[in-house]
């Protein structure tokens, strides 16, 4: 006996990187062959995984675009303050300073009574009518916009501040709009997360089932491989590649489905936006989105394959 060497006559042989590379290359070739041989089934799997991925991915895209659009629409909430006609001329600026010092305010625009009048003249045809009046009928006003991330409670505090200020006639809080947007956003993102989880699970189950079928089809080969001393990792490897191929193919189908979907809704959506005087700018369908989609698809595919391999290969009876 010579110490450890004699105790373990069958040491683990670590395959070198080169050997590992060869094994992977061979398996990739075999996987391609296997998929090509069963092209009908493979296409079906790709379609199923693709549909499962397209729905949540499309919803994510929709959410992105909604957010981008509301952002561009200056939907950011704030409050408008209208002053008394006879308020002191310094009152608007004083309130503006007080509001600016509050952390939740992004910016404050003051419109003095004269500026309001000038603007009114510029944008309407009623200049002649105004000339008949002795006094400026328009009040001074200011508009404060909330900073990003500020919530409804900040708006309440600001409104209270403004109402107590001198010479203030009316405070208009755009609070309902803010609350509605937050509620809708929450609903959409929760719905999206739920759909993503459900359909992601669906994609995993589809690949798992398909990989199980692939395992069944090659059971004889797996038994022989196990008999001649293939490690579990070696036996599992081809099927992880199957999962990868199924997942990536599904990702491709999903990308195609989404772009078809965009083409289909593009026309009506352009008309709809046109009626609001806006141009259609679809955002988010870019390389980062596609990269993320493919990565997710690949992970789900490999995950499904792992599930199947664990189920089927764990208790593989050799003979």
């Amino acid at each position: 006996m010579r110490g450890k060497a004699a105790r373990d006559p069958w040491p683990r042989q670590r395959a070198g990187l080169l050997a590992l590379g060869r094994d992977h290359r061979r398996i990739v070739g075999e996987t391609g062959h296997f998929v090509a041989e069963r092209l009908g089934t493979s296409l079906l799997v790709w379609l199923l995984v693709g549909i499962a991925l397209a729905l949540p991915a499309g919803l994510f895209l929709l959410q992105q675009n909604l957010a981008a659009m509301t952002g561009a629409w200056e939907g950011r909430p704030g409050l408008s303050v209208y002053f008394e006609l006879d308020a002191a001329s310094g009152a608007p600026d004083a309130l503006a300073d007080a509001l600016t010092r509050h952390g939740a305010v992004a910016d404050v625009t003051v419109v003095s009574a004269d500026e309001a009048l000038a603007e009114f003249r510029r944008y309407t045809d009623l200049a002649d009518a105004l000339d008949m009046l002795d006094d400026n009928p328009l009040p001074a006003s200011l508009r404060a916009t909330l900073a990003r991330g500020a919530g409804p409670e900040d708006l309440d505090a600001l409104a209270a501040l403004a109402e107590e200020a001198e010479g203030v006639a009316e405070v208009v809080v755009e609070k309902t709009w803010l609350e509605r947007v937050t509620d809708i956003t929450r609903v959409v993102s929760r719905l999206g997360a739920m759909l993503a989880a459900l359909f992601g699970l669906g994609a995993v189950l589809i690949t798992a089932t398909s990989v199980r079928l692939a395992i069944e089809a090659r059971l004889e080969e797996l038994r022989v491989l196990k008999l001649v001393g293939a490690t579990d990792a070696q036996i599992r490897r081809p099927f992880l590649y199957f999962g990868l191929v199924y997942g990536l193919g599904g990702g491709l189908v999903a990308a195609m489905l989404i772009s078809i979907g965009i083409l289909v809704i593009e026309g009506p959506l352009t008309d709809l936006l046109g009626s609001y005087g806006r141009e259609l700018e679809l955002a988010g369908f870019d390389f980062i989105f596609l990269g993320g989609l493919f990565l997710l698809a690949a992970l789900l595919g490999v995950g499904g394959a792992l599930v199947a391999a664990r189920q089927r290969l764990g208790d593989l009876e050799i003979l």
Partner: protein
């Protein structure tokens, strides 16, 4: 390297049937042994336990002094890589050529393609099938398929070669050829254990014969050439001439 010891090995199946009962036997490095007995006597169970395809209920199986029944699932593959196994149903892969079937164990070990080709051809030459390396198994005769199975079992140059009814489907002449092939590996120092119910054939080989019945050894006959010790070449003289009476 290649010594096998069974110490009071018992295998009880889930249905209560006993495949082996307290079986104790040892096999020297380079020896050749036939296991015989009726079907159900325990021959296949013996080989399965040795290949670690199943675990015994009790007892130890030592190979080179290591109790292989305790090997972890992680280490088992490396143990199996040092064994060669041949079965009655040869388990060739129908969708791969003869060459690829024989190459499989070497691909598992991760040899370079050039070395694989060299060793596969050497193994095929030994079983006389080099000219058929490109064919698919279904184009071969049963005897040829069995020889491909043997080439696959020996291509890794295992120290231990096991066979379960390797001649089960073959006519007497082909069976004889296959057994001679096993003897050749025994002669180069491989420990060979062959399970076969073909008494006439194995008695003509002049090797050690262990007869099993209901999981126990009923007789253990040493080889005719008393020199059946490690690696000693046999004198083939007596056996070859007499084909035994057909049943």
């Amino acid at each position: 390297m290649g010594q096998i010891e069974f110490h009071q090995v018992t295998k009880r199946f889930d249905n209560g049937q006993e495949g082996l009962k307290e079986l104790t036997a040892s096999f020297d490095t380079g020896s050749m042994t036939f296991l015989t007995g009726h079907s159900g006597a325990g021959k296949s169970t013996f080989l399965k336990l040795l290949l670690c395809l199943d675990r015994p209920t009790r007892g130890q199986i030592l190979v080179n002094g290591v109790n292989v029944t305790q090997l972890s699932g992680r280490r088992l593959p490396y143990y199996r890589q040092h064994l060669g196994a041949v079965f009655q149903d040869h388990h060739l892969l129908a969708n791969r050529s003869v060459f690829e079937n024989v190459a499989l164990p070497l691909r598992v070990v991760g040899l370079k393609p050039r070395d694989i080709a060299r060793r596969v051809r050497a193994a095929l030459t030994r079983v006389g099938l080099l000219s058929k390396e490109g064919l698919f198994p279904r184009y071969l005769s049963t005897g040829e398929q069995q020889r491909v199975g043997i080439a696959r079992a020996v291509v890794t140059r295992p120290k231990i070669l096991l066979a379960d009814e390797p001649t089960g489907n073959l006519d007497p002449e082909l069976s004889r050829d296959i057994m001679d092939l096993f003897r050749q590996f025994h002669q180069i120092g491989t420990t060979v254990v062959v399970a076969s119910h073909d008494r006439d054939l194995i008695e003509s080989m002049g090797m050690r014969i262990i007869e099993l019945s209901q999981g126990s050894i009923v007789s253990d006959t040493p080889g005719a050439a008393a020199s059946a010790v490690a690696g000693a070449p046999d004198t083939d003289g007596g056996d070859d001439g007499e084909p035994d009476h057909a049943r």
